[in-house]
């Protein structure tokens, strides 16, 4: 019944948002002489949203948005050394080791007879680095790095792999990116919330028969078995 499973990567297979939050805290501290922390985080989010269509998702765009936020909030008075420290923060993020989320290897083991497709979005080179560093690449039939996760981009992936949407299940931590577009196509979704998820990925959960919420990725193999047993 379910012939292929899509798995999100950031904050589904490995930690991601936590590194953004740590960096953001250091960024806020850098600008504490100029602004209070809420003003900095509020403006940073606003700048990120403004730049999203042009920069897409990922660390390089985040670095550029931090630089821009520092300039805007200080009316251009921020000094070059502070900007240099922002670049250093971003470079540290780009070099950070990959921390797998608990239960991931075991869940992948339990699904090893199935068609598994890793479907992530963001910066091509950074996602490829993390996939390689994760040691999980061989578990997947295919790795798909998308600029954004929309019904159209999922449809292209399913089409390329000759997978019927009504036989596809996507698992991930983002209601907006992993769940809603797949339900719209007629597929199944396993929503696995993470403690930290970027606010831009939030969306209201629809009341939907093909949507299932799991506490952890460890519950995914069991969900698949239940779906296939029609229970």
């Amino acid at each position: 019944m379910i012939e292929a499973i899509g798995l999100d990567a950031d904050d589904t297979l490995w930690e991601n948002e936590t590194f953004f939050r740590v960096t953001e805290s250091e960024f806020v501290a850098m600008l504490s002489d100029h602004c209070d922390s809420e003003a900095v985080t509020g403006r940073l989010y606003e700048v990120e949203r403004r730049n999203l269509a042009r920069y897409g998702f990922g660390i390089k765009g985040f670095m550029l948005s931090m630089v821009q936020t520092a300039i805007e909030l200080t009316d251009g008075r921020v000094d070059g050394r502070t900007i240099g420290r922002i670049l250093d923060l971003g470079q540290e993020m780009l070099a950070h080791p990959v921390d797998l989320i608990a239960g991931v290897p075991q869940a992948l083991d339990a699904m090893s007879g199935r068609r598994l497709i890793l479907i992530t979005k963001g910066d091509l080179i950074d996602q490829e680095r993390k996939i390689a560093a994760s040691g999980l690449a061989e578990r997947f039939e295919s790795v798909e790095i998308l600029a954004d996760k929309t019904p159209e981009s999922y449809a292209r992936v399913l089409d390329r792999h000759a997978i019927r949407p009504d036989r596809f299940l996507m698992a991930g931590n983002s209601m907006k990116s992993d769940v809603l577009p797949v339900l719209e196509l007629g597929g199944f979704a396993a929503f696995i919330p993470h403690d930290l998820t970027w606010v831009a990925e939030h969306a209201d959960a629809p009341d939907h028969t093909r949507l299932h919420q799991l506490a952890t990725i460890a519950d995914l193999p069991k969900l698949l078995a239940c779906l296939e047993a029609g229970t």
Copy 2:
């Protein structure tokens, strides 16, 4: 004999390097109070090379490298407004219309019965924007955006499309990215030099029977006909 043709995009289908050069000139002018132009371009190239493994190819990495170069060359004394102007320059690049290279639509028309695959490298979102803006997407069986063009990444593309390397021809302006890796795999290459090509893409042309140099993409359909006639 040739069952699929790969086409590079930047500086093969549309102009690209020229916009980097224009931006670089403006960047040099911004720092003219601090350094002469050769020192700026030399340092910028050095910083770009240093960052390549982490940032990959594309405009966002170029923006970050310009910011870093400005900080390094002024020992942190560059002011926030100048950094803001660097970001503006990059944003203009990201919004620039796509200028097709002369003869491209006609050459694609002449090859319309063939399997054509667009194979480009760089920033996912920026490449997708340019492909959409080019109006050429429908001409291609598939669009492949790679983090880098290596024998391994070409091999994955050919494998995914079930194309034998010895029946594949890649056409592009970069000896390093479009020609050498494909020859190494046993494929054919059409090298179509562009007046402007980033120095990091330069490499010596090998003496190779499967390498053909063309003056313009307009000559590509004829080359294919000659190869297939065995002449």
